[in-house]
């Protein structure tokens, strides 16, 4: 049985929340790296330049994670409303088969319910498409993070006495990027499963 979409959307929001927390950690890493680069002086000029990119990347990921989180939560809310309208519509369909004497008196409410279900369904489809686009956007950030991590390692190698400390920071960037990628992948997997089950 397919997972209800309000559960999927809430799960995606949770994944993005975790990604955002990792990105906050990345921002902290950027600050530490900058402080270290300042102390290290001329040997780490290249690394210092990279810290600006790390900082910027972390801000972008945080901003985007928050946005996707908001989209997911809105989707989940929307999906609950759709579930309620669909449940009511199913009950109305059943009542109609019972040939109750006054069934005509319910037609206005039934039509209104069906229209609401239709409208919510369209909104939900639009939301799902937007979510997919945003998650693709997230993948671009991860590719950038990988490039920065590689560059950091290269710069760390030529940092003399500070090499070990900068290598730890470079590894930290790699690990954090991996964790964010894992959360984004899981979010996309959840969304993909959902879309596979959506007619």
């Amino acid at each position: 049985m397919a997972t209800p979409i309000f559960v999927t959307a809430a799960s995606i929001a949770a994944e993005l929340h975790q990604a955002m927390l990792e990105a906050k950690g990345l921002a902290l890493t950027a600050k530490n790296a900058r402080a270290l680069a300042v102390r290290a002086g001329s040997k780490t000029v290249g690394f210092k330049a990279i810290t600006h990119f790390i900082d910027e990347l972390a801000s972008d990921i945080i901003r985007q994670s928050q946005y996707i989180n908001g989209v997911s939560e809105h989707l989940s809310h929307n999906a609950v409303a759709l579930w309620r309208a669909s449940t009511a519509a199913e009950k109305f369909d059943w009542i109609e088969t019972q040939h109750s004497d006054n069934i005509a008196s319910l037609h206005h409410a039934m039509q209104s319910c069906y229209q609401q279900r239709e409208a919510l369904s369209h909104t939900l489809s639009r939301g799902l498409r937007e979510l997919e686009q945003q998650l693709e956007e997230g993948d671009k950030h991860i590719r950038t993070a990988n490039l920065i991590a590689t560059s950091s390692k290269v710069e760390a190698a030529s940092a003399g006495d500070f090499r070990n400390q900068l290598e730890v920071i470079a590894q930290n960037i790699t690990d954090t990027a991996d964790k964010i990628r894992a959360h984004l992948s899981q979010a996309r997997r959840l969304l993909g499963q959902r879309q596979k089950h959506t007619p």
Binding site: R84, A88, I95, N102, A104, S105, L106, A109, C113
Partner: protein, 245 residues
């Protein structure tokens, strides 16, 4: 869903909806009531979400949807009003009368269109068509904000959980002898009703009413002399027993 007319005089009717043979296993059987007068009707404790479809289908056999102008929820329990989110779709112009205490809780069942009308602690009256119903305080029986409904013209008291008995869906509608019915009520009342003081207050109020039918939300209905016998039995029954163990 079995529908039984309890009272009918002109366009003033009390209909009971209960003993649903399609009811899912494990769900407590409930009695729902509709009071109709003219082109207005009120559903009393319209029931849980599982019951919504058979209940609405049964109700439409008596009145068109636009005549169901009011809902009443004696308290906040799911078997009373968890269907609210669906009634909200079916009866967007209706009003829900319920204890003020439970408004913010009951809204969790979903209510965007129906208007909530708070019943104050001391109770109130409500005109339905050409009749006037009384919301009688029954606080702590069992819920901390709780009302029963009395119709002075039909002389029917909808008594919520007071007088309730746990029985199968094929049980008769009416209490025949108190001696055989009491064992079906005793534990329910002792465990669910928390306050002897509240119980005596309610009995005092009930004795001031002329009751031809006492209609609880579960189990059989009472007629004289069983109504008086019930009040006497309930008066002597110690309740709130869970804290005495």
């Amino acid at each position: 869903m079995l529908a039984t007319t309890l009272y009918e005089e002109g366009d003033h009717r009390w209909i009971m909806f209960a003993r649903d043979p399609q009811k899912a296993e494990g769900i407590i059987d409930t009695n729902q009531y509709m009071v109709q007068s003219g082109d207005q009707a009120i559903l009393l404790d319209p029931g849980g979400i599982e019951l919504f479809a058979p209940m609405l289908s049964a109700v439409l056999k008596f009145v068109p949807a636009e005549h169901i102008t009011h809902l009443f929820a004696s308290h906040q329990d799911p078997d009373i009003i968890s269907s609210l989110g669906l009634w909200d779709q079916a009866l967007p112009n209706a009003k829900l009368y319920s204890p003020w205490l439970w408004e913010s809780f009951i809204r969790h069942f979903g209510m965007e269109k129906i208007e909530f009308c708070a019943i104050p602690d001391e109770g109130m009256t409500l005109n339905i068509g050409r009749i006037q119903l009384q919301f009688i305080p029954a606080h702590y029986l069992h819920s901390s904000g709780n009302f029963h409904v009395y119709d002075p013209k039909a002389k029917i008291l909808m008594s919520g959980d007071v007088g309730a008995a746990m029985e199968s869906t094929d049980a008769p509608l009416w209490v025949d002898t108190m001696s055989t019915h009491i064992p079906k009520m005793r534990k329910f009342h002792q465990r669910w009703m928390p306050s002897n003081e509240a119980k005596l207050d309610w009995i005092r109020r009930a004795r001031q009413l002329d009751i031809q039918i006492m209609a609880p939300q579960h189990g059989r209905l009472f007629q004289p002399p069983h109504v008086q016998e019930f009040l006497n039995w309930f008066e002597d029954l110690p309740v709130g027993i869970a804290i005495k163990g």
